[in-house]
Amino acid sequence: MNRVINDPDQVVEDSLKGYLAAHPDLLAATEHPRVLRRAGPKSGRVGVVTGGGSGHEPAFLGYIGPGLLDAVAIGEVFASPTAKSFDAAFAAADAGQGVACLYGNYAGDNMNVKMATRLAAKAGIEVKTVVANDDVASAGPHERDKRRGVAGEILMWKAGGARAAEGGTLDEVIAAAQKAIDQTRSLGIGLSACTIPAAGKPNFSIEDGSMEVGIGHHGEPGIAVMPTKPAAEMATLMVERIVEDLPFNRGDDVAVLVSGLGATPVMELYILYAHVDEMLRARGITPRHRFVGNYFTSLEMNGVSVTAMRLDAELDRLMAHPARSVGLTVLGS
């Protein structure tokens, strides 16, 4: 695999230098080398934090900014950040109003956040958490606590970040983020594997001509491997599964996010979106907020994910709230 890197063990450090150099208006370093915070003075609001492994850019650090995240803990490629870095991110985000830690359901992250929360409590910082579990492929509907968090995390951050920007209390921010993820379902399709730079070779494979439905953001197994289908059928597979799972109902307004996994041409994301939009509308479901792009990637994996979130008045308002970040900018209306 041909790469634009120096030492494969230093890719995270090396890329953080680039982020800080490119976006001094949005991002600032902290005392912890693996924690970035929002540039400028603290907001005085509830702090909104996330963290996760690297290799998903622009997630996670690309969503730091006004109306979104205040600080992010950054792990090695595809590995949870340390408990200490989560703790440092809490400290960087806390303005005395407490911290909402909105992260994804992975073993490492769960362990490290749990331990960081204890550390923060000792330091007098109140941390409450919401664990994203939007990936319908990773467990059945009655085992939602086993499901992974995937691209729906972005909508959770958007909701929580907007609620915090509105001046919500910690409980209000947590409630908004929890509602956001509870109303969100995602499903991905993988079309090629990816290679962790330090490992040097992919640790799973997807044959050309076959697709893995329900693949995770690190190549975790999906629910089925089948011959690659046309985009219209991929959309059917994904939309049906998502719609049934919540379920979404006729008359629902939704936010929709189609994300590439890294190497998928942008053109193809829009080909898929056309079908997703059409299928949702055919079911009486109206996409009111639409995001298409490489929002949550897995290095150079080829593939796509579809995410839908049912909106109520609050979530609709929170999606429309202005936000500015590397990965997502929403202008006030």
Binding site: G75, A79, S80, P81, A107, G108, M111, M115, N203, P221
Partner: protein
């Protein structure tokens, strides 16, 4: 002698670091068969860093604290918290004791195993380091319960740890990355179990050495 000096046992911590660094290639190799091939890298990164931070003349408790803090503070992933709290809890369980006897060791090991079980949620049979930890602790406690000497308890522990590692060969992984492979994960040792066996064996060897020395 049926106990060792906590201070003297501190010299075992660099041995454990050396063992992990030495076996790094082997650990990555077995992780590569059914995981992502980085277990040796992850472990040696953390242990090497901890090794650099060990203070001269530190006892076993302080050594384990350094190991635990480094893994927790610099490694992340799952290994950071699992091995990190493992060593941190074991250090806490020593509770400032000046000598370590079989009872103290048993309490220490139990604290370590309990926290890995608590934080990781894996059970024996899942093809993880629990398949080494649980039988190792059981064997130690059984020997201790039978009234055997500390040295004999340690020997029983290492034998059980090695057997536990070997037992992972025939298991289907239920936890972690290797669970992706389902049935295909059978036939290979588990990488975490291998590093855990290595750590317990090195710890036991060091204690036996100190016991022999009659320190």
């Amino acid at each position: 002698m049926n106990s060792v000096s906590e201070r003297a046992a501190g010299s075992i911590v660099p041995d454990m670091v050396a063992a992990i660094v030495l076996e790094q290639g082997f650990l990555s190799e077995i992780d590569g068969k059914i995981g992502d091939g980085d277990h040796g890298i992850n472990m040696s990164k953390g242990f090497r860093l901890a090794g650099e931070r060990l203070s001269d003349g530190a006892g076993l408790g302080q050594g384990f604290t350094t190991l635990g803090d480094t893994l927790l503070g610099d490694i992340g992933g799952s290994m950071g918290p699992l091995y990190g709290t493992f060593f941190t809890e074991m250090a806490d369980a020593l509770n400032g004791a000046e000598r370590i006897d079989a009872a103290r060791f048993s309490a220490m090991l139990r604290a370590g195993v309990d926290t890995v079980a608590d934080i990781g949620g894996a059970k024996p049979g899942d093809k993880t380091l629990m398949d080494v930890l649980v039988p190792a602790q059981a064997a130690f406690d059984a020997a201790h319960g039978r009234g055997e000497e500390f040295a004999a308890c340690l020997t029983a522990m290492t034998a059980a740890a090695a057997a536990g590692l070997e037992s992972t060969r025939d298991m289907v992984a239920k936890v972690g990355r290797a669970s992706r492979l389902g049935e295909r994960s059978r036939g290979t040792l588990d990488a975490g179990a291998a590093s855990c066996n290595l750590l317990l064996a090195t710890l036991a060897d060091g204690l036996l050495r100190e016991l022999g020395r009659g320190a």
